[in-house]
């Protein structure tokens, strides 16, 4: 029976449950005893998923008190000797996991996207060089095997046990009020507001001269794809859109994963604004517009029709 620890972050409880999928791929869910560590309140909503639930202490631990978290996780490992420790690759997770790995003098693989388990030989797969390359990593040493996982990479739905066992572990520093001695403290947080720079978007829906008469429609497509709207120079020239969303040599250079170019011919000055784009869908009346030579899919036809039909199809979703 393998022992596995999963750190449950306060604001991401459901994502922590998804890590059970990783455990399953590592050992087979029935071969693993999974421990969940986090705030008591949060753990209460996760009954049935973890074999053991360990609340973080008798007071709520500041999620950003990374030093204390590291101490507590070290204590847990000393007590239970886990085979593996899984942490979500969130902002906190990415700071916590490496610290813990160094503390435990063990190997850590970041942002895994896949697992190849062949008995005791386990390969953790992760992207490198901005995804151009995939690497298979093995952990050396005696363990525990540590890994961070991005949200939504794995999925897990089912409960695994009828009752989770609660372990009210006594940490060495339990009861000691943390905040006053903290050398680092979260003071406040606010939502990021307003316009996000198109350079930060993973998906861009861009309109060119052909979309002048219906440019506003691009926004609806962008919305369902969680994307941003961008434009070629011709649209900016006609003052249909502000310059800050202009893609091109004299505008912004973007590197989204997906670039949907509607009514854009693909003049070199525009193309020079695209760097390292993974996928391009070009929608154009002329299937031989230069931009089509760099597209994965060329949609020959009217851009407005394309947007309307695609929107309908996406909203319809998966029907049998």
């Amino acid at each position: 029976m393998k022992k596995c620890l999963i750190y449950v972050e306060k604001i991401h409880p459901r994502d922590a449950v998804d890590l059970l999928d990783a455990v399953d791929r590592l050992y087979g869910s029935e071969n693993a005893k999974v421990y969940g560590f986090g705030d008591e309140e949060v753990l209460q909503s996760l009954e049935g998923y973890f074999d053991v639930l360990i609340p973080s202490g008798n007071e709520q631990l500041d999620p950003y008190n990374i030093k204390t978290l590291t101490n507590r996780l070290e204590e847990l490992h000393e007590a239970f000797i886990f085979d593996s420790i899984l942490i979500l690759a969130t902002h906190i997770g990415r700071m916590l996991a490496p610290r813990l790995a160094m503390r435990l003098q063990t190997g850590l693989v970041a942002d895994i996207t896949g697992i190849n388990a062949d008995g005791d030989r386990i390969e953790l797969i992760r992207p490198a060089y901005s995804g151009k390359l995939m690497a298979a990593i093995t952990i050396r040493g005696t363990g525990p095997m540590m890994m961070t996982v991005r949200q939504k990479v794995f999925q897990w739905e089912e409960k695994r046990v009828s009752n989770s066992q609660w372990n009210l572990f006594e940490f060495k520093d339990s009861g000691v009020v943390q905040k006053k001695n903290a050398s680092m403290e979260l003071l406040r947080s606010e939502d990021k507001e307003g316009f996000t720079d198109i350079r930060e978007s993973e998906i861009l829906v861009a309109g060119g001269r052909g979309t002048a008469s219906y440019f506003v429609e691009l926004e609806s497509l962008a919305k369902v794809l969680n994307a941003q709207v961008a434009a070629s120079r011709k649209i900016i020239d006609q003052q249909i859109a502000p310059r800050r969303i202009q893609v091109g040599q004299s505008g912004k250079t973007v590197n989204p994963k997906l670039y949907i170019a509607i009514g854009i011919s693909g003049a070199i000055q525009h193309i020079e604004g695209l760097k390292n784009v993974e996928h391009v869908i070009a929608v154009n009346k002329k299937s031989r517009a230069p931009i089509c030579s760099i597209a994965d899919i060329v949609v020959e036809g009217d851009g407005k029709e394309f947007i309307e039909k695609l929107l309908r199809r996406i909203r319809r979703g998966d029907e049998i």
Partner: protein, 490 residues
């Protein structure tokens, strides 16, 4: 001369609305597209002119020049503002920019005699549009056509994309009118040809404002047959083969309007959708039906002769679309301006040279080699290439293009990038006997090689300057090297 006296003098000669002393306009007038980046970033190192004036007639130009000549005021003749070599850059404190804006009348379109007369401030693009409605064309099609004006186009000995058929501006000019620093107005009449002593038009055509001010131009007209345009394109193994095909077409007497050969990198930026990393050869046959067809056949024949070097044909449709979008518009210029404000980059620089058939390809290879080996910021180059775009029976040009990431302060950009590259290109060209300035003019930034360019013939240029502009008031620094101006060049 004190500024207030200068302005007072101007007010005696012109109306108030003809005198512009707006600071933004004066700042803009301090430099041209050569220092475009420094200008946008507000780090120009040159003085501002004192005023811009808009004369309404040649007589007013005459009075202005006499005033400047008497008071040793530097004069920058200006029309379309599209200069790229510093021809419009100001190197003197006391400078007057004389802008041809109000000299914008079309004087006569003479269809029977195939001549059109316009004033210097007429936009070529506008003129072309009018002519095309009647079925004619000037045949002059520089990339700046939508914006450039006739005065500047003649003063810089400009050339257009269709020159291989129609020739450069020097082949198109019939007669002209110009004004000299002493106030003298010369009218060269319109005749089809004459042997009346040396051809004095050529003192004016290409003087880049260093000898006189052009006020009026007459150019030839050609019949316009766009329906007969034929595009022929090929992917070719290398530049050497491409140039050979160009030569084959030319020496056999064909005159395509467009004859171009692009190097791999240069081709990739224009034709990324079909160049497949090869050199690209492009021709356009133009003219009346029989001539266009015969030219097309001649092109195919020349290509066939070198078929071992031809990789494949290019779809004409693709070429036609590319060609239609080639020219600058004012919006292109404005957009580039905004882009330079936002980013540490611009659309690149060029140096264009010429030579005979044998020499030009040697120059090309020598330049490429030397830049790759010697240029200290070669890592910052994002594009280095060249293309031949204007051919003659006895040679062609080579237009070197280079883009780069700017990793230095805006005020250092030219010294770090363009100048060293230009130096290599000019030196290699002059070494082999080519010309360092095919069609952009010497401007101010190649004047250190003017004497080298002309050799013993420089004597003739020098004497012209001494005679026509003894006080050196005409566009100080253009063509003729000036010690005082060196600080703005280095």
């Amino acid at each position: 001369m004190e500024t207030k006296d200068l302005l007072k003098g101007l007010r005696n000669l012109l109306n108030e609305e003809q005198i512009n002393t707006e600071e933004e306009n004066l700042y803009d007038a301090s430099a041209d597209r050569y220092k475009k980046y420094a200008k946008v970033r507000r780090v120009l190192d040159v003085p501002m002119p004192k005023a811009i004036v808009y004369p309404n007639s040649a007589e007013e130009v005459s009075k202005l020049l006499m005033f400047c000549n008497e008071n040793k005021i530097n004069v920058i003749p200006r029309s379309g503002k599209t200069a790229t070599e510093g021809g419009l850059e100001n190197w003197k404190e006391n400078t007057l920019v004389i802008d041809a804006k109000n000299l914008n009348k079309t004087i006569k379109i003479d269809e029977y005699n195939m001549q059109a007369t316009v004033q210097a401030g007429v936009v070529l693009g506008d003129m072309e549009e009018e002519l095309r409605k009647k079925g004619y064309t000037t045949g002059h099609s520089p990339q700046s056509k939508p914006v450039a004006k006739m005065g500047g186009l003649v003063a810089t000995r400009s050339i257009g994309q269709l020159s291989t058929l129609y020739g450069g501006i020097e082949d198109m000019v019939v007669g002209l009118e110009c004004v000299f620093p002493d106030g003298h107005i010369s009218r060269i009449k319109n005749v089809s040809r004459r042997a009346g002593g040396p051809d004095i038009r050529h003192i004016v055509i290409g003087n880049e404002g260093s000898l006189c001010y052009i006020t009026e131009v007459t150019v030839k007209l050609f019949k316009y047959f766009p329906e007969n345009n034929e595009f022929h394109g090929f992917l070719v193994k290398d530049m050497d083969s491409g140039i050979k095909v160009l030569r084959e077409v030319m020496v056999n007497g064909y005159r395509p309007s467009v004859a171009r050969c692009y190097s791999e990198e240069d081709a990739k930026q224009h034709f990324y959708h079909f160049s497949k990393d090869h050199c690209v050869l492009i021709f356009m046959a133009e003219g009346n039906q029989e001539i266009a067809e015969a030219t097309g056949k001649g092109i195919e024949k020349a290509a066939a002769k070198f078929q071992d070097s031809i990789i494949e044909k290019v779809d004409s449709q693709l070429l036609e679309e590319w060609f239609e979008n080639l020219n600058w518009s004012q919006q292109d210029i404005d957009d580039e301006y905004e882009g330079m404000l936002e980013n540490d980059s611009h659309s690149g620089y060029t140096t264009e040279v010429s030579g005979d058939w044998e020499t030009i390809i040697k120059i090309y290879h020598n330049v490429m080699k030397r830049i790759k080996e010697e240029y200290h910021r070669v890592e910052d180059l994002t594009l280095l290439g060249g293309h031949s775009s204007h051919s003659y029976i006895n040679g062609t040009n080579m237009y070197f293009v280079y883009n780069y990431e700017i990793h230095c302060a805006p005020e250092d950009e030219m010294r770090v990038y363009h100048h060293p590259l230009q130096r290599i290109i000019v030196e290699e060209t002059l070494k082999l006997g080519g010309s360092m300035c095919h069609h952009h003019g010497i401007g101010k930034f190649r004047n250190e090689w003017t004497k080298n360019e002309h050799g013993s013939a420089y004597y003739m240029l020098e004497k012209l300057k001494e005679t026509f502009d003894p006080n050196n008031i005409m566009n100080f620094g253009t063509i003729y090297p000036q010690k005082e101006g060196e600080k703005y060049q280095k």
